[in-house]
């Protein structure tokens, strides 16, 4: 098609201008493949470790802990998947399709837990719920129980980790599914009602299946997060793949074995992806061309009260209670923690997150748009591969980045010494470049998915009409797609921003010497059981994380008002 169109154009417009454009296409395509290869490099390095020799440590792992890793990781995924599904879909449905007092408030407030990293909520609830915490102390004082005389759920357990992760990860499902619900044609629901199905059967028979791609996308994001989580499971002492990889590496010093474990983890993710793709086959979910204002189901009386209570419960558990506890701790400790060093921490963190999210967006746009222009299998595979980093735990990406960067550093060092007698040492691997590269690798798929889903809503006729009016490929992107995509782009930026802010393991490993971020600081303090002292940087992470959530929410409601 592309060749045909070009050759016709050559015949019509004469050779020079069209040949130049055809040349740009080739360059674009080449850049795309190279860029995708570069981003896939750390993952390739990790997978390639499977062909490295296997150390004797493997036998030890197989005999002792590997079964634990697999079972715990599976249980964690199942639990968090189910938890976020229930929390995310119910809150999305209620705020998108029902009308009740407080709906507007809950619509944005339910996004707040996005700002709460799982390891921070885990420290906070540990402080609240463990033996010496205020709740158990109050119970003992009230009923006169003593140690061992009563049963209380142990927060530092697999179940605890599932609860913590579900509470902070459900907004991914909420956000994506809510958009799907609001974009669903209300006529679909009305058709079901007029064919004799009540509101509940309509929800389960029509609304939910039609929203399935969004649910699958949301839950698969969540599952990848859950698999990649290090801070929470490590703090709770639950053995999963990530803690296992960390332990194998730090404890046993087995870098290759850690990378091999990580490639097993990747296998999990590939299976997950394949299942999701398979379930979507043959189904094309077109959006209705008629965009009507949403007809919300009015809820009154006990229904409205029950809805408010349910949403308030989610909000309290996932945000209000932990934030209040953090604020109380920080209130007693902030004098000792807020100093010039703390302000440097804040600006470092903010700068890193901003640069990383911009980088991710630029690369995502480049890849997604390239895939749209040249949708052949090579491009598609390249873009898919580039988007796989999100599934890989931060620790493993760090290894995957470190290995090639160190190799490069060694070679540059050698070259400089031989030619100029000037050793350069670790030029790249200890720099912010390595860390930023790791962030792009890790979080690219977040922006890529958002940009791609936005692009897929733009019909190809728009591209074609813009091209026929003389716009170049880049011109179409700038003049047609970017303005239409503004909402998606904002979403992409902010999702990555929040993710980078919370990122822990890769930052721990790749940060330049003497360079700290809020997350690293909070982690160090909390690991030393200085929970109250960790509260100030933790609260700062939550508060900075709130800014993008507020912006995100503004974009979301603005879009809705525009429809109405």
């Amino acid at each position: 098609m592309e060749v045909e169109a070009t050759s016709i154009a050559v015949a019509v417009a004469g050779p020079t201008r069209w040949q130049r454009i055809a040349g740009t296409d080739t360059v674009w395509r080449l850049c795309l493949l190279l860029g995708a290869a570069l981003i896939a490099l750390p993952v390739v390095v990790v997978v390639a470790s499977l062909w490295q020799p296997y150390s004797p440590v493997w036998q030890h792992l197989l005999d002792t802990v590997l079964a634990d890793y697999v079972v715990n990781s599976l249980l964690l995924m199942a639990g968090v998947g189910l938890g976020t599904l229930v929390l995310g879909v119910s809150s999305a449905w209620l705020t998108a399709m029902c009308e009740f007092p407080g709906r507007r408030f809950f619509t944005w407030a339910l996004l707040l837990p996005m700002a709460m990293p799982a390891y921070i909520i885990a420290y906070t609830y540990t402080g609240l719920l463990d033996f010496a915490g205020p709740l158990q102390t109050a119970l003992r004082d009230t009923f006169g129980w003593r140690y061992g005389e009563y049963w209380f759920p142990e927060i530092r357990s697999l179940g605890g980790a599932i609860c913590m992760l579900s509470l902070v990860l459900y907004p991914y499902v909420y956000l994506l599914v809510r958009v799907a619900f609001t974009e669903q044609s209300t006529a679909l629901l009305e058709a079901s009602r007029s064919l004799g199905r009540g509101p509940w059967r309509t929800f389960f028979g029509v609304a939910l299946p039609v929203a399935r791609p969004a649910i699958a996308a949301g839950v698969s994001l969540v599952l990848m997060e859950a698999l990649a989580d290090y801070g929470t499971v490590d703090y709770f002492g639950v053995s999963t793949f990530t803690t296992g990889i960390f332990r194998t590496w730090y404890g046993l010093g087995e870098l290759t074995t850690a990378a091999q474990l990580a490639s097993l983890l990747l296998l999990f993710v590939f299976v997950l992806f394949a299942l999701e793709r398979l379930s979507r086959q043959r189904l094309r979910f077109h959006h209705g061309t008629v965009s009507k204002a949403i007809q919300r189901i009015p809820l009154r009386g006990w229904r409205a009260a029950g809805t408010c209570a349910w949403l308030a419960l989610i909000l309290l558990a996932a945000f209000v209670i932990p934030t209040t506890q953090l604020a109380l701790w920080a209130g007693t400790h902030w004098r000792s923690s807020v100093d010039a060093g703390f302000m440097t921490l804040v600006s470092n963190t903010f700068m890193l997150a901003a640069i990383a999210s911009l980088c991710c967006l630029a690369v995502a746009l480049f890849l997604a748009y390239g895939k749209r222009l040249f949708p052949d299998w090579l491009t598609v595979v390249a873009v898919r591969t580039a988007g796989m980093g999100y599934a890989v735990p931060g620790t493993v990406i760090a290894v995957g980045v470190l290995i090639p960067f160190a190799w490069l550093d060694n070679h540059i060092d050698l070259l400089m010494q031989e030619n100029f007698g000037m050793p350069t040492g670790l030029l790249l691997s200890g720099s912010l470049v390595a860390l930023l590269f790791a962030y792009v690798v890790r979080f690219l798929s977040v922006s890529l998915q958002t940009v791609e889903s936005g692009l897929s809503r733009i019909g190809s006729s728009l591209d074609e009409s813009a091209r026929s009016l003389g716009a170049s490929a880049g011109g179409v992107l700038r003049r047609v797609h970017l303005p239409i995509l503004r909402g998606s782009l904002l979403t992409a930026l902010l999702l990555v921003f929040v993710d980078v802010l919370k990122e822990l393991p890769a930052t721990l490993i790749l940060r330049p010497f003497n360079f700290n971020t809020l997350a690293v600081r909070a982690f160090e303090l909390a690991s030393d059981e200085r929970l109250a002292a960790a509260a100030t940087p933790a609260l700062a992470i939550v508060l900075i994380g709130l800014l993008p959530v507020i912006l995100l929410n503004r974009g979301m409601t603005a879009g809705e008002d525009g429809h109405g």
Partner: protein, 347 residues
């Protein structure tokens, strides 16, 4: 014979906005009705009220003698047995055609359901397409699936919301005729909403013209075309021009083509009024003493539609054989043939 569907003084409000006000209409069993009007006139609101999706703020809707909507009393849509065909068809994208049609048949057992689905698909000429997904079908096929799905549970009435607006104009009239035959063969009572008068004429026995949320006029297509009760109906239905005329005390009309002797309703005697002139009312007459200057013309194949200027400057339309071939600025000799006078209050 009792009315099958009856709307009595129905009003629907969205907050302070009145979408429909004091609308009454009725349909006999087996009749096909139509709500016709410009977009935003409230016709879709009325249809949705009958479907059970809008609560009434006044009045009552009854189906087969029992009330289905009253003030503060709305029977849920799923209990009404009212079939709906939506403007965008609203086919469930996650179900194939067969399961779309079977969606409303959960009260049947498996074999009954399969039989009914194949009957319905046969009925709409899609017997082979049961396993296809909606997006694999053309617009016309999707439309027929939507109709089959609505008819499958044997509803008491079918409501069609702009059912042809998503289709090509050529397909539209053909499908409208097919759908009418299909509904009549199955003795279905149906109510159609459209802004397109040709669709309304092709489908409906009874047309209710709506404007600004109220009923302007109800009647057969013939009534609405030939006996419009006001300037809005006259302007909305068919082509024509409403010109200002002077009615004399003796019952004669004075307008640019001279005096016209015609019986005129007494209420207009001695006053000015609006007179509807259809393009067919003004005929080309080679030897007429009256010739009017051509202001514009449009080619209509066998005919020209001329726009002619009266001596007082008002414009009227005239359909004349293409052989007349008078260009703009030239004079066309015409005569006036009025079968029935349509006079309105002056605007």
């Amino acid at each position: 014979m009792a009315e099958h569907l009856k709307l009595r003084d129905v009003s629907v409000h969205y907050g302070a906005f009145t979408a429909a006000h004091n609308v009454s209409l009725s349909l006999q069993a087996g009749e096909i009705g139509c709500l016709l009007g410009p977009s935003g006139c409230g016709k879709t609101t009325l249809l949705r009220a009958i479907g059970g999706f809008e609560p009434l703020s006044a009045g009552e809707i009854s189906l087969q003698g029992s009330t289905i909507s009253g003030v503060g009393n709305t029977l849920p849509p799923e209990q009404r047995q009212v079939g709906m065909v939506f403007q965008d068809f609203a086919l469930f994208p996650h179900l194939d055609v067969g399961r779309n049609v079977a969606f409303g048949l959960s009260y049947m057992n498996r074999s009954q359901r399969a039989a009914r689905v194949s009957d319905m698909l046969e009925l709409v000429g899609l017997g082979q397409s049961g396993r296809a997904y909606p997006h694999e079908l053309s617009g016309g096929q999707q439309q027929r699936v939507a109709l089959a799905r609505a008819l499958a549970p044997k509803p008491r009435i079918v409501l069609l919301d702009e059912p042809f607006s998503g289709l090509d104009s050529e397909l539209r009239e053909q499908l409208a005729g097919e759908v009418r035959q299909l509904l009549q063969r199955n003795q279905m009572t149906a109510l159609l909403v459209t802004h397109d008068q040709h669709e309304a004429f092709a489908m409906a026995d009874q047309i209710t013209l709506i404007n600004g949320g109220t009923v302007v006029q109800s009647g057969t297509p013939d009534d609405l075309y030939h006996r419009p009760i006001d300037a809005f109906t006259a302007g909305f239905i068919g082509e024509g021009a409403v010109i200002a005329v002077q009615v004399n005390g003796d019952g004669t009309l004075d307008f640019g083509l001279g005096l016209l002797q015609a019986p005129v309703a007494a209420q207009y005697a001695g006053r000015s009024a609006g007179l509807l002139l259809r393009p067919t009312d003004i005929a080309y007459a080679a030897h007429s003493s009256v010739s009017l200057p051509v202001a514009a013309r449009a080619f209509r194949g066998a005919q020209y539609l001329y726009q002619l200027q009266l001596p007082d400057g008002q414009l009227i339309l005239c359909l004349a054989p293409v052989s007349t071939n008078v260009s703009v600025g030239g004079l066309l000799p015409v005569s006036c043939h009025l079968d029935a006078l349509s006079l309105f209050e002056p605007s």
